[in-house]
């Protein structure tokens, strides 16, 4: 309505369209667990254990998995809210925080995050406009300009500034608060936005509104999304690529239609078939998996999924499967011995031997 037309800021596209916006290599984070005072050996939670992936420019990578799979830790490591134990990141062709690469402060501005809890992510003592203007003010934008920008952003996310700018978070509904969080993220003109369960806490009818808003903003501002969610429907809808995580590792990744159409990892298949059917005549009759996801302290040896996997075989205990490309689409990768004819798993696909 009265929002100023958004002029795409100079996006500093350094690497060109073929260069992925973000490349993450071998990211690791182990949290020490405090044992008893007499325990000698320290235990570690293997929250993120060697995660590598890349996000092409202007695309959405959906990260799915159950609680404890490390998807939120991955997000925090990328956002540098937490220090990784090891691993490297390349942002648009330049190493982050490496010699000669882009500096952390600049990197942070080009990457913003929207959190799940819309209430906890807003300072209860600041008005909506103050919250949005805070970041730019920190970076030296004059107060009047920051305020005007905040009003424009509010209008863009569908909150009339004259009504909402001077309200406090507790006076807004969940959906409205999440719009504010999105507006705050946009205040920096970021290139990558991490959405950590950003629509999970919203009511269904409101969730659809926010998803639409996210899609519009992405097209309008050439954003790239990292969309973390446990909701497979939503990930299917919004993502171009999907990465499935289990106990701190990537088990499968690929284009969305391949993951949802020809899932290659038993865990992905189980996850997909655990989704309620929506058809009262064809209710789910049996559960694809038994038990809960195991504790990420001391994960099983070899393949971490093996003790819940219907196809487990001694080889799965002995060696951990690598993430390898699948026939048909090199972008589709899975970490399962079943897909590797050289693995020695009796059920491995024979036709790939060609």
């Amino acid at each position: 309505m009265n929002s100023a037309p958004h002029t795409p800021s100079p996006l500093h596209d350094r690497g060109g369209p073929a260069q992925p916006l973000l490349v993450v290599r071998n990211l690791k984070k182990h949290f020490p667990v405090r044992g008893g005072p007499l325990e000698r050996t320290k235990k570690f939670v293997h929250a993120v254990d060697g995660v590598s992936f890349s996000v092409p420019k202007g695309k959405t990578l959906g990260i799915v998995g159950e609680s404890g799979c490390g998807k939120s830790t991955t997000a925090r490591l990328i956002a540098r809210l937490m220090q990784a134990d090891s691993g490297s990141m390349v942002f648009d062709g330049e190493g982050v925080d490496e010699f000669g690469g882009i500096r952390l402060k600049e990197f942070r501005r080009s990457l913003q995050m929207v959190f799940q809890d819309s209430f906890a992510s807003l300072n209860p003592r600041l008005t909506i406009a103050e919250t949005i203007a805070y970041g730019p003010r920190v970076h030296g934008m004059p107060a009047a300009e920051a305020k005007r920008q905040a009003h424009d952003l509010l209008a863009r996310v569908g909150l009339a500034p004259e009504q909402f700018a001077s309200r406090y978070p507790h006076e807004l509904s969940g959906g409205q608060r999440q719009r504010v969080n999105i507006a705050r993220a946009l205040a920096f003109d970021p290139r990558l936005v991490i959405l950590d369960e950003a629509v999970a806490a919203l009511d269904k009818s409101v969730q659809a509104q926010v998803l639409n808003l996210l899609q519009e903003l992405k097209a309008e501002r050439q954003l790239t999304y990292l969309f973390i969610s446990h909701d497979l429907h939503v990930v299917h809808y919004i993502s171009d690529y999907v990465m499935v995580m289990y106990l701190g590792q990537v088990v499968e990744t690929g284009p969305v239609e391949r993951i949802y159409g020809q899932a290659a990892h038993p865990y992905t298949r189980a996850l997909l078939s655990a989704v309620p059917s929506m058809d009262p005549d064809r209710r789910t009759e049996s559960s694809p998996l038994a038990g809960d996801p195991p504790n990420p302290i001391n994960p099983p040896s070899g393949c971490r999924f093996r003790d819940r996997c219907p196809h487990a075989h001694p080889v799965c205990e002995a060696t951990s499967p690598a993430l390898i490309s699948l026939p048909g689409d090199p972008a589709h990768q899975a970490a399962c011995h079943l897909n590797d004819p050289a693995s020695g798993h009796p059920g491995a696909l024979p036709e790939t031997q060609a």
């Binding site: 009818s205 659809a208 639409n212 059917s277 929506m278 789910t284």
Partner: protein, 326 residues
């Protein structure tokens, strides 16, 4: 036909705090023995309030309840003292969303279930323990004997929810109230708990009221679904009818907003706006401000819930079922 197990007649609940909020407005629900009703709605729709009112869990001083609740022949709103205690947990029991909060952290799972059994019947300690162990086995907790002596925090989320169900079913209630029992669980665990609930319901023949915001979960367990909005039931029908031929614009919107593969690449049909403020409900249909088909009449008069062939809808301009429209 026999009398229904549960009958709510014109039930209204108001909370009188700083502001008066009408959480329930003239709700009518009937539930037969052995029937599973899904109460579907978003936050603030009144679905949880309905459950809590059924158990009389609201503080009496600040809550105004009108109407009538009958469960298994008891006039619930008139129950007092020991009769109320026996009703809670005996006739009706509840499974909560957060099993971690519903258990007392300082007693073992087994102790708590044993305690619940003994509170409701003249059973000896040993018999009660045996029965409690049997309950844990029935909810398919592996190594039940070991888990019997475990403290709540030692169990995973899914196991805790199973134990919660065991606790709720320990006294063989005729009615189980389930308040978003699977919302906090992971997808692969959620489906296990849904299947378990369905199986236990079939075995025991109890009635279940299953509150959820997730249509998918409701479809998996319910026979009938009642859709709630702003403290009113706006539509009620069998699961099949709700999913295939929804008639209330809100239900239609809710189903359209449930994203799936077929929506990829196009904007979702979102219901605009947000649920109304319960302290200031509009005079007419509470969905009218968000409804594309709203007319003058919708803004003036509250539409009654009218039933036709088992499919009830409260709307002045309901969507026509495909068959009739053709």
């Amino acid at each position: 036909m026999t009398a229904p197990l549960v009958s709510l007649q014109n039930l209204s609940v108001q909370f009188c705090g700083n502001r008066k909020a009408s959480a329930l407005n003239a709700v009518n629900i009937e539930l037969g023995a052995g029937e599973v009703l899904g109460l579907l709605g978003e936050s603030g729709s009144g679905k949880s309030v309905t459950l809590r009112t059924l158990l009389r869990l609201h503080p009496e001083r600040s809550t105004k309840i009108q109407g009538k609740i009958e469960v298994d022949g008891h006039d619930v709103l008139a129950l007092k003292g020991r009769a109320l205690d026996l009703y809670r947990g005996g006739t009706v029991s509840m499974v909560f969303q957060e099993p971690g909060l519903a258990f007392d952290p300082v007693y073992t799972i087994g102790q708590q279930i044993t305690e619940a059994i003994r509170a409701h019947g003249a059973v000896g300690e040993a018999a009660a323990r045996a029965q409690a162990l049997h309950m844990l086995e029935r909810v398919q907790i592996p190594q039940a004997r070991r888990r019997f002596d475990a403290y709540p925090h030692e169990l995973s989320g899914g196991m805790r929810q199973r134990a919660m169900i065991a606790l709720a079913l320990a006294c063989q209630p005729k009615l189980l109230l389930a308040d978003e029992p699977t919302t906090a669980l992971d997808a692969t665990v959620q489906i296990q708990v849904l299947l378990l609930l369905r199986e236990l319901q079939r075995e025991t023949g109890m009635s279940v009221i299953f509150v959820t915001h997730d249509i998918g979960a409701a479809v998996e367990v319910a026979d009938r679904i009642a859709v709630m909005y702003a403290g009113r039931i706006v539509e009620q029908a069998t699961v099949g009818d709700i999913v295939r031929t929804p008639r209330h614009p809100y239900t239609v919107g809710l189903l359209a907003a449930t994203v799936g593969a077929e929506h990829r690449g196009q904007p979702l049909q979102a219901v605009p706006g947000a649920p109304p403020d319960l302290a200031a409900l509009p005079p007419g249909c509470s969905f009218a401000p968000r409804c594309a088909h709203a007319s003058e009449r919708c803004r003036r008069e509250v539409p009654p819930l009218e039933s036709k062939g088992g499919h009830a809808v409260a709307c002045w301009h309901p969507a026509q079922p495909v068959a009739e429209a053709a």
